[in-house]
């Protein structure tokens, strides 16, 4: 019996789901939390109508392709990691066994999308729309084959020089050499796909709210809810930033910075992160009448991200538990926002809570123990 499936399971699959708990939470909220009824996207009525619409099928497959890019990028990055260079030995195994196992890895990562597309195939066949069914099946076969072949060739060949990555040389802009932007350089260099998908998702949500419920035809609450949802969708990015900080920047702990300064580094970075959303707000809301509101939203977004970052310093916390907390905070404030509360007060509460948790937990936190 081959040990390869076990190793690939531990090295790639488990790590993928562990690191992407936040992403799945955001998708879950989007797919089931914002629909009425919550099960709309998987309801027989919706799917029956949807498979008859070429536009829906194309949009759906495009969305799943974005998810595929995420899975592909993750596998590629994991196989490139220096600690996984031992996997090159797998090239000595029979080709069909290696290809099978790499296809299996792809299927396990792509599983949520695969299930939905197969559901679509079932409804397409049920409606005798065989062309749609065959196209979706072909789509899945092509993605699986491409991944398996690509990674087979990667394991059989020699590694690329890491210098070929453009973003590794991103430091030519002086400001990006400062510690405030190391997180951004990390995301641009090593988490490009995740950053792109997060910003795409966040921007789309915010844009949808701003476009469908324009101000002043509607009040400012839809903009607030859209922005809140967009900010919450950054939760996976926050997880990655904290992981990078505690895995690759451990030496920062040996620098004589007080809590305010460490906290400030994060605030600057998260503020920078929310600039695209800020631009959307400035573009779609009349700045003369909503300037203060936009400013408060921006501060609210930063304070939420700081709180999410600080919560990751709770010792022995599983990511499942973390996802529950995020969902709870998201829902509670979502309902609260419907009552038009003073945003500055919520910002202060979130910021003070974040700083309190951070200053209490930071030095007690040991990343080695934070393993599920």
């Amino acid at each position: 019996m081959s040990a390869l499936p076990d190793i690939l399971q531990k090295v790639v699959v488990k790590l993928f789901y562990r690191q992407n708990a936040g992403f799945f939470l955001a998708v879950f909220i989007f797919a089931f939390g914002l629909q009425s009824p919550p099960s709309l996207l998987v309801s027989p009525m919706f799917l029956s109508d949807a498979v008859g619409s070429p536009v829906f099928i194309v949009v759906d497959l495009l969305l799943f392709f974005l998810y595929y890019l995420k899975c592909f990028n993750f596998t590629n990055k994991t196989l490139n990691a220096p600690e996984n260079s031992f996997l090159q030995v797998a090239a000595l195994l029979p080709p069909q066994l290696l290809l099978y196992n790499l296809a299996r890895v792809h299927i396990l990562l792509y599983f949520p999308a695969l299930v939905y597309t197969l559901l679509m195939v079932g409804y397409a066949i049920g409606q005798m729309n065989y062309l749609a069914g065959v196209l979706i099946i072909l789509y899945n076969i092509i993605l699986t084959s491409f991944s398996a072949t690509f990674f087979y060739r990667k394991l059989s060949g020699t590694k690329k020089d890491p210098k070929s990555n453009f973003f590794l040389r991103f430091g030519f802009i002086p400001a990006f050499n400062t510690v405030y932007f190391w997180w951004l350089r990390y995301l641009l260099g090593q988490e490009k796909v995740m950053l792109f998908l997060t910003k795409l998702f966040s921007g789309s949500i915010l844009l949808a709210f701003l476009y469908i419920y324009p101000y002043p035809a509607y009040d400012l609450r839809p903009a607030l809810i859209g922005f809140w949802t967009a900010v919450v969708s950054h939760v996976m990015l926050i997880q990655r930033v904290q992981l990078f900080q505690e895995k690759d920047l451990t030496f920062l702990r040996n620098l004589p910075y007080n809590y305010f300064r460490r906290f400030g580094h994060q605030a600057v970075f998260y503020g920078f992160c929310l600039i695209p959303e800020l631009i959307l707000l400035l573009r779609y809301l009349p700045i003369t009448t909503t300037f203060l509101f936009i400013g408060q939203l921006f501060a609210l977004g930063i304070s939420f991200m700081l709180l999410m970052h600080a919560l990751l310093y709770r010792q022995k916390q599983s990511l499942r538990n973390y996802a529950r907390i995020v969902f709870f905070i998201f829902m509670v404030f979502l309902l609260f926002f419907l009552t038009s509360p003073p945003l500055y007060l919520i910002t202060v509460i979130l910021s003070v809570s974040a700083f309190g948790i951070f200053s209490k937990r930071y030095y007690a936190f040991e990343p080695e123990l934070d393993i599920d």
Binding site: F170, G171, F251, N254, P256
Partner: protein
Amino acid sequence: MLAFNNFSKAYHSQVILQIPELTIPAGLHWIKGRNGSGKTTLFKVLAGLLAYKGKITLEPDILLSKETVLHRKYINYGEAEPLYPAFLSGMDLIHLYAQAKRAPKSQVQELTETFQADLFLNKPVSTYSSGMQKKLSLILAFTGKPKIILLDEPLITLDEQTVQLMYKLILEYQQHHGVSFLISSHQDICMPQLPFTATWLVQNKTLTPSQ
């Protein structure tokens, strides 16, 4: 210099080190121990990278768990196997350390010249050999005005010429700047050029003076 009081360090409730009462005086100290004995854990605790229970006081009266900023100002650390983000350059890190530890410009220049590192420091860390990374970690460890420098396995991956330069620098910092050193290595490595004040053994989950 360093006083331990009811100190203990555990991972997942498994005790790695326990030091009920111990004082390490100022000077040059050799911390010996076998693989897995807890030397690196001890160093990481002293560098402020890991949490612990009990008290460690940097004499006269700096309680490390309370004075988090002074702790990191006065104790510098050179890791055994340093790892830095691939996209940064050595200079990015040196600038950060120099700023944070308030090191004079001349010190940084002297250190880079001593370790003959000016040739590679502007390149990304991803292009460094393990010896270059080690040199970078040593430069960072000597940056600022520390009272104690912890050097974890400083001899590994360095060539003989660099080892001699490092010995010279250690003696200079100790004799002219009053810096104390805790230097770890396996038991079978000798450092005859360094006049150690004392030798300590990490074994049986504690730290004791070597006979």
